[in-house]
């Protein structure tokens, strides 16, 4: 196993041409997988010295461009923001534990695409985009198209997640992110992200290989529960050591209703 820590994206792209090369961001999943014998790449390309991957830029419309190496802790500590960034910040506050939040990055989490992770759910509810870069240039992919399967994304071999573009969200919208987990910080059994004012865009995590999105849900409890029941009936919920598929389907409608209610309570009147 070899290791390089390039300082520019061009050098990183060149290094990633090697067979079996992987990006190392915060390492909170990759190093765990290496320790468990599940990953043994030939070359580790550390992204920690690439300044272009750091920092959060506020756009003119109130949206954010978040560098891939921004940590969960930085996002958790975002100040007052537009509804879209606020939803992402709420999700960041419940990613794992303080020690993990201090090291783990949004780019690493997005690139891994764990089906129970928090960002993929929040980003799909918000309608965010993922900026990818590689030797042939950069491109933007909608978060709703980026997560294509279990730990599978639209990122091509040799590409790097450069940034996450989070739109401001509808004016006056409220946002909420709720997750049901065994202890604070564990991966979700079920999680729900909701954003909107009169109607809500909602994404659900933990109930299939990728988050499920439903847009334009009505604001009444009945409409929210109906949307939750429809998702529960159609989702491909897994059974694992955290919960059975039947349990996930059972709790989804009510968690969706509560999250939707919370988002609506936060919307400006």
């Amino acid at each position: 196993m070899n290791y390089v820590a390039p300082t520019t994206l061009a050098e990183a792209y060149r290094a990633l041409q090697a067979d079996d090369a992987v990006c190392l961001a915060g390492g909170q999943s990759l190093v765990a997988a290496m320790n468990l014998g599940l990953a043994s790449p030939a070359l580790i390309v550390s992204l920690r010295d690439i300044a272009a991957l750091r920092g959060i830029e506020t756009q003119a419309d109130g949206g954010l461009r978040i560098g891939a190496m921004v940590s969960h802790a930085e996002l958790a500590e975002l100040g007052p923001s537009a509804p879209g960034p606020e939803l992402l910040s709420r999700a960041a506050r419940v990613v794992a534990y303080p020690a993990i939040r201090a090291r783990g990055t949004i780019g690493g989490s997005v690139a891994l695409a764990d089906p129970s992770a928090d960002y993929p759910v929040a980003l799909q509810a918000i309608g965010a985009s993922i900026e990818l870069g590689g030797r042939s240039g950069t491109r933007m992919v909608s978060a709703r198209d980026f997560f294509v399967g279990l730990f599978e994304t639209a990122r091509a071999t040799g590409e790097v997640v450069l940034a996450i573009h989070v739109p401001p969200g509808p004016a006056g919208a409220g946002a909420a992110y709720e997750k049901l987990s065994i202890v604070a910080g564990d991966f979700a059994i079920v999680s729900v992200a909701a954003i909107g004012r009169d109607r809500l865009d909602i994404a659900v995590g933990g109930c299939g290989p990728t988050p499920i999105v439903v847009t334009g849900v009505g604001a009444s409890d009945e409409a929210l529960l109906a949307a939750g029941r429809a998702l529960a009936a159609s989702c491909d919920a897994p059974s694992d050591h955290r919960a059975s598929a039947a349990y996930r389907r059972r709790v989804l409608p009510e968690l969706l209703r509560r999250t939707g209610r919370t988002a609506l309570e936060r919307a400006s009147a």
């Binding site: 820590a5 390492g27 765990a32 580790i44 550390s46 303080p98 020690a99 090291r103």
Partner: protein, 159 residues
């Protein structure tokens, strides 16, 4: 075949140390096996239990989830670097005073987590303490006294 070894210069508890280790060696392996700092414990080795918690650049880190070669010039503080010349740190002393130690295996990780919490938030609520400690497992299940110790330090009425 022996894995190639890479040279790193680590700053641990204020001392500069040269290390030769394979790329796959974690900070945890290096501090325990090469630097003989065995206070940092190896529990689960995949980031869940918190027994290997250290400070890197002043912020919490799982030593098992950082490659030693990737630490670079960021200073590392282990449990051995927490106490001052006078003896135990105030967090360590509070754990002793509250009887919050059973087998002691998880204690270094709890000390690091509580030290970071109280630096950032000197007067946390009981819920904030519990949340800050959610990533540290005590196999003796002695959580109540650990939280009690933290609440004494927080100077809170619900201590």
């Amino acid at each position: 075949m022996t894995a190639p070894r890479h040279h790193s210069t680590l700053v641990v508890n204020g001392e500069t140390r040269d290390v030769l280790a394979p790329v796959s060696a974690t900070l945890l392996e290096v501090v325990r096996d090469q630097l003989d700092l065995c206070g940092t414990k190896r529990g689960c080795n995949h980031g869940v239990c918190g027994a290997c918690t250290v400070l890197v650049d002043g912020r919490l880190a799982r030593a098992c989830l950082m490659l030693a070669v990737d630490v670079g010039d960021r200073p590392v503080t282990t449990i051995e670097g927490i106490a001052d010349e006078r003896g135990l740190s105030r967090v360590q002393q509070a754990l002793v005073d509250a009887g919050a130690i059973q087998c002691g295996f998880c204690t270094p990780g709890f000390v690091m987590a509580l030290t970071a919490l109280l630096d950032a938030n000197p007067h946390p609520s009981r819920d904030e303490v519990r949340s800050a400690l959610s990533g540290n497992l005590c196999r003796c299940s002695g959580y109540i006294k650990i939280v009690d110790a933290a609440m004494r330090l927080a100077g809170s009425p619900d201590a």
